[in-house]
């Protein structure tokens, strides 16, 4: 097995939208590839491949030695993505007859080769590969590998291939490591079940659907429990004799980023909650804005100062395991009672309970939601009292009911090409509002539009460009976009003095002349003082 096979798998996963199609590709991979390569492939898909990476600059130098600078610049401008440009431009006439490297060989060589040797080694590999495999190699060694399959889907493919329950693989997952020789041996009936040694295991989270008006009409108040929707990140806390871990919603281990939470996890159980940063307020601890949490999330090392200025806190809302007892098949009301009793008994530091909101009718709840904006809360969570804890996004038992977004009609001012799959499209937009008779930019958005709207915007921008600054195009001030956003804040860093939170393009207002777009004063009035 070699890199070209892996490249073909990656390519097809990326282009295949359907889950069943992806699973078929994965099954075939596990069935056909030998050890240890199939395990390394699995690690790459599961995001558990740690390897020494090379800097993109190294590859830039390699390609510069081999191409004309003008042709490189024209090509890069056309393709938009550096790794892909290099993969496509790598001279084919130097194709060596050397066999393409195996995945295992690449990983091992990167680990052991002296740094000074890397350019020569990488160039020799690239000479032995076709363009698809070159792209996979470049993405792999620069750490930019994007995979069209989640860790969970990779494991699901493995489970289907081996004809075992996905849960069984999750249970042993933390007792195995790349290239997973013991795991494959067990699944093929040629070895014992790997022993997870009681290591903490991530349990997939239950997720909520956004509540639409039609769904709301069907809700019957007595069936439902309501909680505030907190503006932090969803976490799972797993602790027991085998150790403690803090997981993000996708199962990423973020224990090291929040050591103070880990230290407070002295219990035995699995809990679900919201990670927040707290700061002192007039009435004790207050939830800090999301940007404070962002400060913590972005840092690799945790300083004493950060622990003091941005202390983390978990607001608990569910209990999945109490000791060894699995509570997930119990209804929400019962789990909630167990959670409250457990919390009263354990009283873990840096944690509290997310309160239940009392309400008698759905109308009353709607009024409460209408007030969330004033209270700086993101909205409400609705959970059926009888809902068991089911992994994934099951429609019906849980809803998230966000506060209504705000919106303004803004004028498109600049556009830039996107990244990854959007890199041939002008998909990042800067828009502005009128101040006097000048337009001032108020923000950028790169989501919210449909594919058809993206195609329209891309063409419109190309047809209405008035100036270019590197990758940015300035356009005729003639297209109005309805921009939706969650909140607006004063910001000295922006020319307009205002910054938007979660802006997205809600609609293209081709019917509206630019002169009738909103004025900056309109936006300023929406800022919460």
């Amino acid at each position: 097995m070699s890199l070209p096979d892996f490249a073909e798998l990656l390519e097809r996963l990326l282009f295949t939208p359907g889950r069943n199609g992806k699973l078929a590709l994965l099954r075939q991979w596990f069935a056909n590839q030998p050890d240890p390569d199939r395990g390394i492939g699995l690690a790459a898909l599961a995001g558990e491949l740690s390897l020494r990476t090379a800097k993109p600059a190294l590859l830039r130098e390699l390609i510069a030695e081999r191409t004309d600078p003008t042709l490189f610049a024209l090509s890069y401008d056309y393709v938009g993505d550096l790794a892909e440009t290099i993969a496509l431009l790598w001279p084919e006439d130097a194709r060596s007859n050397a066999p393409p490297p195996g995945l295992a060989e690449v990983i091992e060589t990167l680990e052991t080769a002296p740094k000074a040797e890397l350019p020569r080694i990488i160039a020799a590999w690239l000479d032995a590969l076709d363009s698809g495999a070159r792209l996979a190699l470049i993405k792999l060694i620069t750490g930019g590998l994007r995979v069209g399959a989640s860790a969970r889907l990779a494991k699901a493919g493995l489970a289907e291939w081996a004809d075992v329950d996905l849960g069984e693989i999750e249970e042993v997952w933390h007792g195995v490591a790349p290239p997973y020789l013991t795991l494959f041996a067990w699944l093929e009936g040629q070895g014992p079940r790997p022993d997870p040694n009681g290591a903490p295991v991530f349990r997939p989270l239950m997720l909520a659907h956004p509540l639409e008006e039609a769904d709301f009409a069907k809700l019957h108040a007595p069936d439902w429990r309501a909680e505030w929707k907190w503006d932090g990140i969803r976490v799972q806390l797993t602790a027991g004799p085998g150790g403690a871990r803090l997981w993000s919603r996708s199962g990423e281990d973020i224990s090291n980023t929040f050591p103070e939470i880990l230290a407070a996890m002295r219990f035995h159980g699995v809990a679900d909650g919201e990670l927040l940063v707290m700061r002192d307020g007039p009435s004790g601890g207050e939830v800090a804005p999301f940007s404070d949490l962002q400060q913590r999330l972005n840092r690799k090392t945790v300083t004493a100062r950060m622990l003091r200025d941005h202390p983390a806190h978990v607001r608990l809302y569910d209990l999945l395991f109490e000791g060894e007892a699995d509570l997930r098949a119990l209804p929400f009301d019962e789990r909630r009672a167990r959670l409250e009793a457990w919390f009263a008994r354990e009283a873990p530091a840096r944690m509290d309970l997310s309160p239940l909101i009392s309400f008698a009718t759905m109308e009353e709840l709607a009024e409460i939601r209408a007030g969330t904006r004033a209270a700086s809360i993101e909205g409400l969570m609705l959970k059926r009292g009888d809902s068991i804890y089911q992994p994934g996004r099951v429609k019906g038992p849980w809803w998230k009911w966000k506060r209504d977004p705000l919106n303004v009609d803004a004028v498109l001012m600049y556009a830039q090409r996107g990244h990854g799959k959007r890199s041939s499209f002008y998909s990042d937009y800067t828009f502005g509002l009128w101040r006097g008779d000048e337009l001032v930019p108020i923000g950028k958005a790169y989501s919210g539009y449909t594919d058809a709207e993206l195609a329209f915007l891309d063409k419109w921008i190309r047809d209405h460009t008035t100036a270019r600054f590197g990758p940015v195009r300035e356009v005729e001030k003639a297209l109005v976009l309805e921009v939706e956003f969650d909140a607006a804040q004063y910001s000295p860093r922006h020319k307009s003095g205002v910054a938007l939170r979660f802006p997205r393009i809600a609609r293209i207002r081709r019917d509206k002349p630019a002169e009738e777009a909103d004025r900056l004063e309109t936006l300023e009035a929406l800022i919460k003082r």
Partner: protein, 338 residues
Amino acid sequence: MPPHPETWLRVTPDGLFCEPGGFFVDPVRPVERAVITHGHSDHARPGHAHVLATKETLAIMRARMGEDRAGATQQAHPYGETLTINGVKLWLRPAGHVLGSAQVCLEWQGARAVISGDYKRRHDATCAPFEPERCDVFVTEATFALPVFTHPPAGQEIARLLRSVALFPERTHVIGCYALGKAQRLISLLREAGWDQPIPLHGALMKLCTLYEELGVQLGPLTQATVAGKERLAGAIVLAPPSAIADRWARRLAEPIPCLASGWMRVRQRARQGGVELPMVISDHADWPELLATCTEVEAQEVWVTHGREEALIHALAQRGIRGRALHLIGRGEGEEE
């Protein structure tokens, strides 16, 4: 000193005009006398009074435009035979692009220009292979004139398709391709790879496939995709115009996997537009190495670039001591190209 071709071969709003010969090559508007390189709609337009082309190109024009619009008088001219029009010598050489495609070779008072139309240098069993002709000025397209466009061997792309068919035997692979040239070449490549099953076609592809067969190109068993039932289409490779593969038409297929055969599929970002799940880099045009090799092989001192990415090509030609000139021909490279 022979007269430089720029003194007798002019770019006009109607297209390239040979002044002493009094005829246009691939004019975009109806003219009195037209020489047509090949049947694609950006080269062959309806309504000319007199049309000269290969007999295959004339047949393709009649099939696409109708007898009455494909030229009031049609003059079939075989490859390699010289004809003199008002002192201008004219002959045709195969361009290897689609059936009947020709390079128009012109010589006047000892100066020679070759207008290659669209061309490719790869093997294609459905048309005569490109024949290089030495000349003073070579007029070339530049559709894929960027070094990122190096088309892989077509057989490799077909092999990937067949691996996918083996992996998803209960689904239909539907390949988006244009009706003239690409469809027939794909069928021929599939036959070369041993695919001998009937190939169901979208209605829009049928007419030209039938014409190719009448003109002596064997394509094997073909059926109408619309007639076959869903279960018959499981495991089939179906051909359709690109606009149909992800459209309502495709609902009749069994869990279709949309594939697209085009040189543009080389760049992943482009391939990801339009819901393609299996991009196939198969092109009717010369790729970058072939463009450069051809411009060098014909030993022209000057290369005129009709349409495409002329900037990169002219830059690379200059490094090889060849003068490049962008013609900016209107209306070229639009419509069904690639």
